[in-house]
Symmetry: C2
Subunit: 311 residues, 2 copies
């Protein structure tokens, strides 16, 4: 018997009861809990050799492990960003066949990124494992958490940065050739939009999520959990020149819609905030309406994304 | 090039700078950090197939995965216990080849244990991995943290429960036979001494650690970090009847001194607290004195322990 990932998460969220102090449990980008008078946001992510990265990539990208160390923190920081939280403390677990120079490179990258994000790595565990895996749990502070379930009809939908770049980077790594190095950088060293997330929360924005599983897929989690319809215009979706160079116009289009791991933010907000949100580097791509589902150029799309367990 | 685990941790603790709000970073049982006005204790631990457990054990112990789910939480809870912290929230990461029934059993065990410890599992990540690994990060609240570096000359040394049982359990599993099931239970389902840790802290005790790597080894971490000598009398060390049945008197003695994963507490405290500490289930086994090193029956011992990376 095998479960699909989302069914599995739903089953778990029933199995694991929501206790005292838990404001947002399993299901959103980050958990939100109250400890004493402090509201914390907590997120955890893992990178596994063979699933999220391949050792061979070091041939193409000599600084692979340093970038993976950076990415390990950025991925969780992105979850905190979309919650409007400020990262503070991280713990790290590394499973590895041996304590090698490459692990040191990884920690150097992690340490760099931690300093950039003013986050302290306060503990961790190093264990022996045949397969290399990296896990990081990030704890931050949040005043008013943004949730994916707070989209409201009448709002605008916007996204930060450009979409599909990480897919373009991954594709080059899998093909074993570097044609557009910027895209590889975007895949291995994503920008977590922490500043942007904090600025959105400060503007009073209540709904955000990050693009981890693919733009349309993550839009669908917003539409479903908010019980609204989301309509986006494809021509408005921001795509980089590098991605078009690599994949052509049609390939770039598909990467932007379905590619995962961009770690950009999706947000919905009242129309009067449009200019302020745009000035943070967001592009308006659509609207929230009554109803349900995600619509692309007026046509309903089925949720597709990046499910590591799918065949 | 390969590093020994403790050298590696020392290198990391230099690499990863201690930032604002960090009261205790890498190196003690749990990190202690300040978020707003709340003082948090954070600990993280991992269990890896092939290193910490073998799939084959299910033949001997049908409820293996349920117990591993319990152990995953207990191991981190033990770190919080020795810090005098109250566990509140956990995140869990599971890496697995597929989403199986056994993973559900694991989460059932984790959920049971979480309810016993009034801890909420608030989030996590499920990722594809050829090798099964489990990681848990536990966040708790602490008023005055107990540290392993706070032993003072003139104090008594005590330990909770009995020592060596987990080694007796592991030995049976590795030999493929069940002779003393209680010991297997002690290995797969250790008691985290959370209540005892909180009671010690309430008595004003300042020094504790848990027996994760072996009694003598963990005593040495207390002696070294506190810059004191610790003298213990072997005949005072509490050993269970089951362990003597399994290993004989001499085998039980060695298991109690060197065996890891007992997750009992070691504490040092002023002599006037003796009766109160004993009433919590602790046995006084020695004294703290000026000097350095660990002495067994008056003879200095070298630190030995359970290092997963040692050949």
């Amino acid at each position: 018997m095998s479960f699909k990932e989302f069914e599995f998460i739903e089953l778990l969220s029933k199995l694991l009861p929501k206790g005292r102090g838990v404001e947002v449990g399993v299901g959103d980008d980050a958990a939100v809990v109250k400890a004493g008078k402090t509201r914390l946001a907590v997120s955890t992510d893992a990178l596994v050799e063979g699933t999220h990265f391949l050792k061979e990539w070091k041939r193409l990208v000599p600084e692979l492990y340093r970038l993976l160390g950076r990415k390990l923190l950025s991925v969780s920081a992105s979850d905190l960003a979309s919650t409007g939280a400020k990262p503070l403390f991280a713990t790290v677990t590394v499973g590895a066949p041996e304590l090698s120079e490459e692990l040191i490179e990884l920690y150097v990258g992690l340490s760099e990124r931690a300093q950039e994000l003013k986050t302290s790595v306060v503990g961790g565990d190093t264990v022996k494992s045949g397969q290399l895996f990296l896990e990081l749990t990030l704890i931050g502070k949040v005043e008013r958490p943004m949730l994916r379930s707070k989209a409201k009809p009448g709002q605008l939908v916007a996204v930060s940065g450009t979409l599909g770049d990480a897919y373009g980077g991954l594709k080059q790594l899998l093909n074993g050739e570097v044609r557009e190095p910027k895209l590889i950088e975007r895949f291995l060293n994503p920008t977590a939009r922490v500043k942007e997330g904090l600025s959105l929360a400060k503007l009073g924005v209540e709904c955000a999520t990050d693009v981890s599983d693919g733009f349309l897929f993550n839009l669908k989690t917003v539409a479903d959990s908010s019980k609204v319809a989301i309509k986006v215009e494809e021509e408005l979706i921001p795509v980089s020149e590098s991605l078009v160079n690599l994949l052509g116009r049609e390939g770039a289009r598909r990467a932007a819609l379905f590619g995962g791991e961009d770690y950009e933010l999706i947000t919905t907000f009242e129309p009067e905030l449009k200019e302020k949100v745009e000035s943070l580097g967001f592009t308006v791509v659509g609207t929230v309406e009554e109803g349900k589902g995600v619509f692309l150029n007026g046509k309903e799309v089925k949720g597709e994304g990046f499910d590591h367990f799918k065949e």
